[in-house]
Structure formats: structure tokens, C-alpha cells
């Protein structure tokens, strides 16, 4: 069911704003909206953003260095009052971590720069001249650099006639390391040869001593820096132990950021806010504001023409988990229809049919019960878990009906689909037809509600008459079915083109709309996946059992392996087929069912509330 929304407008004093926003956030019933450019973010919002980024980095760093949280760790509870007091410790920790990670990073950087310098010096390690003595004299100059290996022979040949002395050193990726001395007056000619043979110059680090000594020094210095960084990382591990404090700080900042995101429009002393409130929650909102101040004026009114309120769905506890299936697609538009109550039973049935193994259903039901007890998933994840939980109950039912127990055949209450595929297909198409008809009836309901009775009759009921005719043709003797089908088709042809201009256009339009029958056919055929996916689960389970049986015949070792195969195989089969069953039963809703009537594109109703990532705030 879709909840009607009221638009709230609030006027109050600026000095009360913080208190009001806090109270509204605690209450969690109003979704503030920004009125275009007039709305401004509040003072300090930027700062909170920076702090939040810092806390996030700190948490990332702590995650990297401390021990990982278990996936099933429950959220830590924290009382609302202590949640309000911004954690000083957390803020200090964030600062510390920022400093620490900065230090570690620069130490590691320096160390790696040094190591790469050592690598670059390797070709020159045999040079027996200290670097500081390597300088041009009054009469001579020198060149240091790399010469491609292929050019070496030719180059040495070329400079033989010059007054030059080459020292050939080790090979490097850039070429052969080489040092060439020559008389000053020959320098120009030597340069020419160097250029001709693709010589590249090298720049030595500004250091003194022999290259080999420098390399040793640098290696040592790099080692020391790395050691220091290791020490700091050990310190980080200690900080990581007070991670909970950081997490609390992060959540507090998140809440603060939400609060500051919308300050409304303001004058010198007052401000004005707009928001959406559920029709049945206006009292709570007003009470929350009253708890903060007396000086306010609030007004709730129905949405005006052109205003699109956000969409909020509400259903009973059996149906509401299926809202997650709708959220995965797109929320219904405000003022259309929430199809949950019709979708839920079909999703339930389809999921079970696609898994259709009572043994798997039992395993899933028990497993999910335990998992939900341990983790207590909330919000969207919680709803999704419930959908799969309901689905696994349905799986037990269908598994018992089809006689599937861990791939073994046991007392089918209905029939075994693998042995009677046609019966199974008929069941699938029957359920599919029912599903489609429900969709069309919903559309008809929406049309009638909006006053378009003619449209409901011509575009929906005409088809239903025709389908009823087809059904009668198959099961009821006599010509009743034929006449019904013809009557339905006639209505479609005669009215399908009623929007078109001219008699010819109307006729063509009518004939074309009859062509839609191919669309209905392909929709119906799509339900054959109910059988195919059930088949996949059953046969793969059978394959696993067969392999295990073959292994068991091979003695005790084989039996041990067979147990592993059975366990691993069936778990794998469950996981992959739960994914398949969920995706495909959702798809049947989205494409085949929703295609008939659904109006998507609603915006979510996201009230200002305390949203945490790590903590569980108890009010």
C-alpha cells in the first residue's frame, strides 16, 4: 500500500535551528527538501565533510593494520545521549592516525627512492674514483653515461685516434656504463662521436666517496627508514584496538552531516524549512519540534498540483519483505499502485518451484534462521533475507510435492516433473497465465480508478474475454469457447484503434493491437523457466549423488572423499540455484508482471534520521 504524504512548511527562529534539527533527526519522520538555489547549506557543513573524510581514511588505515571485523559481528549498541556527545577520543584518534599514516608513507617513500638510487648505481659499482674527485681539470674533461651495447665496438674504434681514455664498466638496461676522459681541445670531436653512437649522459647523486660505498650507505639508510616505518605500523596496530571509538566518531559525523545538509531559506532572525511527512505521522513531527522550542509555526498540506511526493510503501509483515524486490527495480510512482500484496504470493511460489528440493529448503530455512539470529540484518538486507527465508519454506513445500530430497526421489505428493515434463509445463503456464491476468486486472483497476472505464474494457477486459474463450475451447465441449474468443478478438479489432484518426487508421490500429497476442504468447512461454530451473537444481543434485556413489564403491578413502563431494557439491548447488531462483522469480515480476501495469520512477522517502554504519543507536 502506498502511504499518502503531506507537505510540511516550518517557520522558526534561527537560534533554535540546531535544537529543532536534532529533534527532527531523532524523530526520523520528516524528509527535508531543498527548494532550488534559495536553500543554503549550514555553516560548518564543509568542515564536517573534511572531518568525515579524515575519519574515513583513518578507519581504512586501521582496517589495513588491525584485525578484520568478522562479517557477522553485531553492531555495538550506544545510547542516544552518548551518541550526541561528539567523541573527543575518536577525533584525537583520527588526528593521530592521519599523522601516523603520513609519517609511514613518507618513510616508505624515502626508503624506496633510496633503493632505486642504489639500483641505478649498480653499473658504476666498480668505479674506483670517488665521486667528488670526478671533475674537469684544467686540461681535461670527462663524460659519463651509457652507450648502447651494439655501438660499443665501433665507438671504441672511432675514438682510438683521439686523445681520450675510456673506462668501460658494467652493463645496465640503458646500455653499457662508460666513463671517458679526454683532452679539452678534443672535447668537441668526442662529443660528436658520442652523439653519433647514441650515448646518453648520466647524472650522479650529489654524494661523496666511492660508488660502492655510497651504495652500501644508501642501502643501510633505506633499511633504517623501513625499520622505523615498521615500528610506526606496530603503533598503528595499538591504535587499531580502539577502532570502536573511531567508528562511533564516524557515525556521529555522518549524522551531523545529514543534519547540516539542509538549512532551508533564512532571514536575519528566522528560517523556513520544507519537507515531506507521512500523513499519519504529522503529530509526531510536531511533537518533536515542540520538544525543542515554542517559537515555531508549522503547517501540513496536501501536495499541490505538479508537486511529486516521495514514495513510501507499507504492508503487513508477510508482504513487506517483498518491498525489497520492488526497490531493486524501481519504486512505484506516487499516486499509482503498490503491487506488493499480489506480487508476494507469486514470488513465493516461483522461488520454491525453481529450487524445488525439500532437502535444500530445510537446509536453507535452518541456516537462514541461525544467520538472522546472529547478524540481525536491518533495512534492505533484512528484507532480502526474509524474502529468501520465505522462499526456502516454499521450497520445502514444492520439494515435497515433486518428491525431491537432496536429488533423491521420495514420495512425490503431486508428480515428478522430470518424468512428466508436459504436465509440469502445463502447471508452469497455468501459474503464468494467472500471474499475467492478475497484472491485467490491476491495470484495469487503475484505469477505472482514474475514470477511464472505456479503456479498461477495450484494452484489458477484451483480452481477458478472448483468453477465457481459449480456455473454454480447451476444456468445455461445444462452441462456447470459440464464440467467446471471437467476441474478444472483435472488441480488440474494433476498439484498438480508437485513438487513431480516420476510419482506415482506426481499422489498421485495431488489427495491429490484435498482433499484441504474440507479446502475450512470449510472456507466457517465459514461465517455462520455472520448470527449467527446477530441473537444473534436481539434475545437478543427482549428478553430485552419482559421483559420490561411484566414489563410495572405491573403499574407505573413496567414502571419505564422497562425503566431501556431497557436502561441497550440495552447498554449491544451493548457492548457485538460490541466486538463480531469486533472480528469475524477480525477473518474472519485473518483465512479465510489471510490464502489464506498473508505473515506475518513484523517489524514495528518506527522512532525516540517525543513519549509522557501525553503531546501533538505542533511543
Amino acid at each position: 500500500m502506498l502511504i499518502a504524504m503531506k507537505k510540511a512548511t516550518l517557520f522558526a527562529l534561527k537560534e533554535d535551528r540546531d535544537a529543532i534539527l536534532l529533534a527532527l533527526q531523532k524523530d526520523g519522520n520528516i524528509m527535508l527538501i531543498s527548494e532550488g538555489e534559495k536553500t543554503q547549506t549550514l555553516e560548518g557543513a564543509d568542515k564536517v565533510g573534511d572531518q568525515l573524510a579524515k575519519a574515513k581514511d583513518a578507519l581504512k588505515f586501521v582496517d589495513l593494520h588491525g584485525k578484520k571485523d568478522s562479517m557477522f559481528a553485531p553492531r555495538l549498541p550506544v545510547s542516544y545521549d552518548s551518541f550526541l556527545r561528539e567523541s573527543k577520543e575518536g577525533s584525537d584518534l583520527a588526528d593521530q592516525v592521519e599523522e601516523l599514516s603520513g609519517k609511514i608513507m613518507s618513510l616508505r617513500n624515502e626508503a624506496s627512492t633510496m633503493t632505486s638510487q642504489v639500483d641505478a648505481l649498480q653499473p658504476w659499482i666498480d668505479l674506483d674514483i670517488p665521486l667528488e674527485q670526478l671533475a674537469p681539470t684544467d686540461s681535461s674533461v670527462y663524460f659519463a653515461g651509457y652507450l648502447p651495447e651494439l655501438e660499443k665496438e665501433a665507438f671504441l674504434e672511432d675514438i682510438r685516434e683521439l686523445a681520450a681514455e675510456p673506462i668501460v664498466l658494467r652493463e645496465a638496461p640503458e646500455g653499457r656504463a662508460m666513463l671517458i676522459f679526454c683532452m679539452k681541445e678534443e672535447a668537441a670531436r668526442l662529443k660528436h662521436f658520442l652523439k653519433a653512437h647514441d650515448f646518453t649522459d648520466v647524472v650522479f647523486p650529489k654524494r661523496t666517496g666511492l660508488v660502492s660505498e655510497i651504495a652500501v650507505d644508501l642501502t643501510e639508510a633505506a633499511r633504517v627508514k623501513n625499520l622505523r616505518a615498521d615500528e610506526l605500523e606496530a603503533q598503528a596496530k595499538k591504535i587499531a584496538e580502539s577502532k570502536a571509538e573511531l567508528q562511533l566518531y564516524y557515525d556521529q559525523l555522518m549524522a551531523k552531516e545529514d543534519r547540516l545538509a539542509n538549512g532551508g531559506v533564512e532571514t536575519e532572525k528566522t528560517f523556513y524549512l520544507e519537507g515531506w511527512v507521512r500523513k499519519d505521522r504529522t503529530v509526531q513531527v510536531e511533537r518533536a519540534i515542540r520538544s525543542a522550542t515554542d517559537a515555531y509555526q508549522i503547517e501540513f498540506r496536501d501536495p499541490a498540483e505538479g508537486e511529486i511526493p516521495p514514495t513510501e510503501m507499507e504492508n503487513n509483515s508477510f508482504v513487506s519483505p517483498y518491498e525489497s524486490v520492488i526497490e531493486l527495480y524501481s519504486r512505484p510512482q506516487a499516486g499509482s499502485i503498490d503491487p506488493d500484496f499480489l506480487m508476494a504470493p507469486f514470488h513465493f511460489i516461483f522461488f520454491g518451484m525453481m529450487l524445488s528440493d525439500a532437502g535444500y529448503g530445510l537446509v536453507l530455512t535452518i541456516g537462514l534462521l541461525i544467520a538472522m539470529k546472529l547478524v540481525k540484518p536491518q533495512g534492505f538486507a533484512g528484507k532480502l533475507a526474509m524474502v529468501i527465508f520465505f522462499g526456502s519454506i516454499s521450497t520445502i513445500i514444492w520439494g515435497a510435492l515433486f518428491g525431491g530430497w537432496f536429488g533423491l526421489e521420495l514420495h512425490p505428493l503431486l508428480f515428478v516433473p522430470m518424468k512428466e515434463p508436459l504436465k509440469m509445463l502445463a502447471l508452469c503456464f497455468g501459474l503464468g497465465a494467472l500471474h499475467l491476468v492478475c497484472g491485467m486486472l490491476l491495470k484495469a483497476y487503475m484505469l477505472i480508478r482514474d475514470g477511464d472505464v472505456v479503456g479498461a474494457f477495450c484494452d484489458e477486459f477484451s483480452w481477458l474475454i478472448m483468453f477465457a474463450g481459449f480456455l473454454c475451447m480447451a476444456f468445455v465441449p461445444g462452441p462456447v469457447g470459440k464464440y467467446l474468443a471471437i467476441a474478444g478478438a472483435a472488441i480488440i479489432v474494433l476498439t484498438g484503434g480508437r485513438e487513431k484518426k480516420g476510419i482506415l487508421g482506426k481499422l489498421m490500429g485495431g488489427l495491429l493491437s490484435l498482433y499484441n497476442i504474440s507479446g502475450y504468447m512470449s510472456d507466457l512461454l517465459s514461465y517455462s523457466r520455472l520448470f527449467a530451473l527446477g530441473l537444473a537444481t534436481g539434475v545437478i543434485a543427482m549428478v553430485i549423488n552419482t559421483i559420490a556413489q561411484m566414489l563410495m564403491e572405491a573403499g574407505p578413502v573413496g567414502t571419505a572423499v564422497a562425503v566431501l563431494v556431497l557436502l561441497g557439491g550440495h552447498v554449491f548447488n544451493i548457492v548457485i540455484n538460490v541466486l538463480g531462483a531469486f533472480v528469475h522469480s524477480s525477473r518474472l515480476q519485473y518483465i512479465e508482471f510489471f510490464g502489464k501495469f506498473y508505473e515506475a520512477g518513484g523517489k524514495a522517502f528518506v527522512p532525516l534520521a540517525i543513519r549509522t554504519k557501525y553503531m546501533n543507536v538505542t533511543k
Binding site: 527495480y329 517465459s526 517455462s528 523457466r529 530441473l535 537444473a536 539434475v539 545437478i540 541466486l579
Partner: protein, 158 residues
């Protein structure tokens, strides 16, 4: 002695499992490459990425399923291989073909859609569900291939 018919039936099982397996391997491979890239940026998305990568894996399973039923009907599992006439063998070979071709192509294309879905999940993680549905659209045709292959295999009475 194995008759030509039995050999042809084996060929039917072989193409169904083999080609559908290749399709899945390629599909999962394509999606996996995209997934590794996304995970390198944001390791927290691994769960979502894995689901999307797993989607093109089903064709291989469907192929195995058809091959298994053929082999089961032939009596290979319980150790006494039946002698099939050549006509029966050809029929079983053709029965394996829809799954082979459908599985091969749909696996590859589902992999491509899944890879795009993984990019979608990188940019807008809240919309991962839509990426999954888009990839599942391709799977429809593998499911249809599976169904017709199964009905055909079932129709060959040995």
C-alpha cells in the same frame, strides 16, 4: 562393441556439455576481468561483483545437465552401455545441439552484459540489482535451449 548410434549419442552429450561449458568459461572470464579491475579500486564491492561474475556460469551447468541425462539414459552410469540404432543416435545428437549452441552464445553475451553490470556496480553500487537483472535477461535463452534439449532427449525412447 559400441554401435554407431551409441557413439552419436555420446557426441550429443559431448557437444552439449562441451560447448555450453566453453560459453560459460568465456562469459565468466569476461566478467571476471572486469570484476578484478573494479575490486582493485574498491575491495568492498567483491560480494556484488562475484554475484555478477557467477551469472554466466549457469550455461555450463545446463550443458552438463543435458549431457548427464543422455549419458544416464544410455546406461553409462550403471555400467551397461546400451546399443542404440543409428537413428536413435542421430536423434540424441540433435537433441544435444540446442543446448550446445544456445549455451555457447548466450554464455559469451551474458558475460559481456555481466561485465557492463560490474562497471555499473562500480559507479552506482546501489543499482547493482539492475545489473543483475539485465544479465539475467540473456540467460532466458539458455533456459529455453535447456528446456527444448531436455524435452527432445526425453522423447527418444531407448
Amino acid at each position: 562393441m559400441i554401435t554407431l548410434g551409441t557413439a552419436l549419442a555420446f557426441a550429443g552429450a559431448a557437444v552439449a556439455a562441451g560447448f555450453a561449458g566453453v560459453g560459460s568459461a568465456m562469459g565468466v572470464g569476461i566478467a571476471g576481468q572486469a570484476g578484478a579491475g573494479v575490486v582493485s579500486e574498491d575491495p568492498e564491492k567483491f560480494g556484488n561483483v562475484l554475484v555478477l561474475q557467477a551469472l554466466p556460469g549457469t550455461q555450463g551447468i545446463y550443458g552438463l545437465l543435458i549431457a548427464f541425462i543422455i549419458v544416464l539414459n544410455l546406461g553409462v552410469i550403471d555400467g551397461s552401455v546400451k546399443d542404440l540404432t543409428t537413428d536413435q543416435g542421430i536423434a540424441l545428437f540433435f537433441a544435444g545441439l540446442p543446448m550446445a549452441i544456445g549455451g555457447l552464445m548466450s554464455g559469451i553475451y551474458q558475460g559481456k552484459v555481466a561485465a557492463s553490470g560490474i562497471y555499473l556496480c562500480a559507479k552506482r553500487p546501489e543499482e547493482t540489482g539492475k545489473g543483475i537483472i539485465l544479465a539475467a535477461m540473456v540467460e532466458t535463452y539458455a533456459v529455453l535451449s535447456l528446456l527444448i534439449s531436455f524435452i527432445m532427449v526425453n522423447g527418444v525412447k531407448l
